[in-house]
Symmetry: D3
Subunit: 182 residues, 6 copies
């Protein structure tokens, strides 16, 4: 395994890190850094890409791509080693890893802490790496969305540019609207 | 409009360049360079992303992403100003631009020479920029796929790493197989 | 804005009133009358059109179209100023208003009291008109379906022909069956 | 069978007339008049509703609804006896009639000259009525679209308001654009 | 009606028995035997075939086919009188029976205890046979999946080969994993 | 490899034979016999299962299942070693083999003469067996459908019960109708 190697080649070793990133937070940032110490390039697969404007998935795939790129920039992570790829749901768990194979560059290892996701990659023949847990009590998107609705301090759980972007698109207002329309 | 500005900010001006990129060729490369002289960031929307292993669409979306990244590297184009985003078909032309809005970062201008595509963006309220024609007799993916099947000199129409990658995944063999299975 | 103008022309001003209408009740009737005082023609967009025979959506789109036409007749509303259009779900909120644009005549204003729906139309550049609330404690389809299941006086919340039609298709029996099969 | 009966009741007898109506022409108008002499109400099912901006299907479902309503007005046909219902494709011929049953009011007879469509309704247990042929050499949508592209006299095959509407939305320009982008 | 007639002919009388079979248990086995005393051939329609690796639907359609064939073998039921057919959901209840008609051999009677399913077949013109209840307190897939998670005696509710197969594919481990990932 | 072993066990070795079977002919029958000499059980995957009533795919999946079962009976092939499984298209070649894995019992080898299909199975890690060619000039479904339309001797290319069944459902009449409606 080669570290810190930015240039894409025919034998670039890639990891894939799937998530919904509603929104991407500092815990995700830690996982990305951890993963980039172990692979040449990292595919960030942005799941449930078709959905937005719901309480579970308030942000569009495009907005999540922007947030992730802003976070990479905040954290000084080299974007040239990363792919940000939206992945619409297919609702067939058994086929899902193979569907990822079609939509993304060839990858060699999956990075996930979700036991089902890990099993699906493992069943498909992939190595799975479990990143360390980065303060999962705070760094959870569900919790962050609740803080946004209730007026808590959600900003400190995101990197500064991501927080600023969510304010810019009035993400808090959107979430509260969704709560009323529920 | 600000040129050569790599850092993403809240007022980054973006263009979108849709295509199927089966495969991406030097003509695409010229359009990308031309566009990056006119916008801060460029979204390359890789269409018909769900399809592969057909004569019209031999390569997966993931393979096309890799080819595009290799071409950017060959041409010295700054990847940090580019998004490579696979877009599955939705088969509703009237809605297609709005569907792109959901899957990609906010964009301000469309780059295309296809008159229908230009009209769809224009109908949706977007500025359209028509890039110059870069030797369209040669730089056409349909023509390149025919050269691959017939044993012509397809490599000189691609940048070196893309040609090497297609050899690596045996793209020519795949196309000839598809011709037999048709 | 021209009132009471039945004839369709090139500059007919249209409103769109989206709902599920499971079933259409007197409150819907009031909104329709209110809207037709403000636009030339009204598009009634019957959402979740693909679904029927569930507790949330017991009636088919076709049955809901008939109920709406019966209600218009009961209330003396001019059907020639109304479109009754079934709209299957697409499960992409961000694109939904544009999808309505493809399936319905061009409209200029949205009529809704749902804050999320209002926001989606507003984001898409449309004027939104909020109709007054017509006794929302009673005139709610969810409440009416519960009355139907529990044997309450659901008929008085509907216009007479709609109530008669629901009896004709044995709507109450269907709902109770769905409850058992749940 | 009751003729000329506008008011919807529980035993209204309905016909269904499926087509793509790209665009609706005088031949369609004759069929509609012929059918309304034989049923109380007529459902006009506008097929392939999801598609537009292609050479085969240039107009959106919403535009076709407007054209049909304009034609009814031109021909003095009572709109209150007609339903204009967009029907997206499902690509399962065997199920298609049952899908129509879900999206439209209950119907009793199908009106069509297409032998396959007639068979599908007949297999599903419906009576089929074959309308007379109204100058099929001229009154064909495919022929009319060709006249539009080639600059022929397409207007005389449509009723005046439909022709005017197509000019208003620049339908001829759209078709020629589609030809270029093909 | 002819009993015990294994050979398929043009007037074979068939029943259809729909279910999800997550997993197939002895109660299903009893229903199958009961039905085969009343029809020549039985279609076992395995619903929600697209889904697997969820708490409600842990097993793939293929795994459920294997389990059903193993159970038939355990119970000495003649497989040559049975069809095991996976049926993906279509999410349109009104059309569902017609969709079954497309995917399966022609059938004449439905076997079900679910009142909604019975109604849907009845609305589509089919005879419905209600099998007796075989100890529904125990023989329920939901209950069996709970026993699997909690370590109860789930095996005695299945036939021996099905229990052995679930162990072979580590079905209990899969369910517990799904519970953790929920 | 064990021959002539009818009983399903945990280590049953299975082959998969994909096709559209429009209609199944004697050539298919030869392949099935050839395959059953090499595997314990054979999965016959009936592709494009959603389509019927078109010139390319005149018969429903259910009709094709019946024809295949009739042919097995005509040829004295043991049905208890065969699975007849309808497979709707997913339009993603790259994922197709994995989708088959979800819908069918676990298989170990693919039986096909189609070079693309062989490659897809091979890419997915499966052994591929190429059956001998059984008079491909005659035993081709496309040719048989043409004979049916033109009044040629199509019956001799099918086994007797399949020919009789096609007459029973008036398959020739259906094909000619489709030709007219084309």
């Amino acid at each position: 395994m080669s570290k810190n190697k930015a240039l894409i080649t025919l034998d670039t070793r890639r990891g894939i890190f799937p998530g919904r990133f509603q929104p991407p937070h500092k815990g995700h940032g830690e996982v990305i850094k951890w993963a980039l110490n172990r692979v040449d390039e990292l595919i960030i697969a942005i799941g449930t890409a078709q959905e937005s404007h719901t309480l579970q998935n308030p942000f569009t795939a495009g907005e999540r791509i922007v947030m992730l790129k802003l976070m990479l920039s905040d954290l000084g992570i080299d974007y040239s080693r990363v792919y940000l790829i939206p992945v619409p749901d297919i609702f067939m768990n058994k086929v899902w890893v193979r569907y990822l194979e079609a939509l993304t560059p060839k990858f060699h290892v999956a990075i996930t802490r979700n036991p089902l996701v890990a099993q699906l990659f493992s069943d498909a023949g992939y190595e799975v790496m479990f990143p360390p847990s980065y303060n999962r009590d705070l760094y959870r998107s569900t919790y962050i969305r609740r803080l946004m609705i209730e007026g808590g301090n959600w900003k400190e759980l995101l990197t500064p540019s991501v927080a600023k972007y969510i304010e810019y698109i009035n993400g808090v207002g959107r979430l509260r609207l969704l709560l009323k329309g529920d």
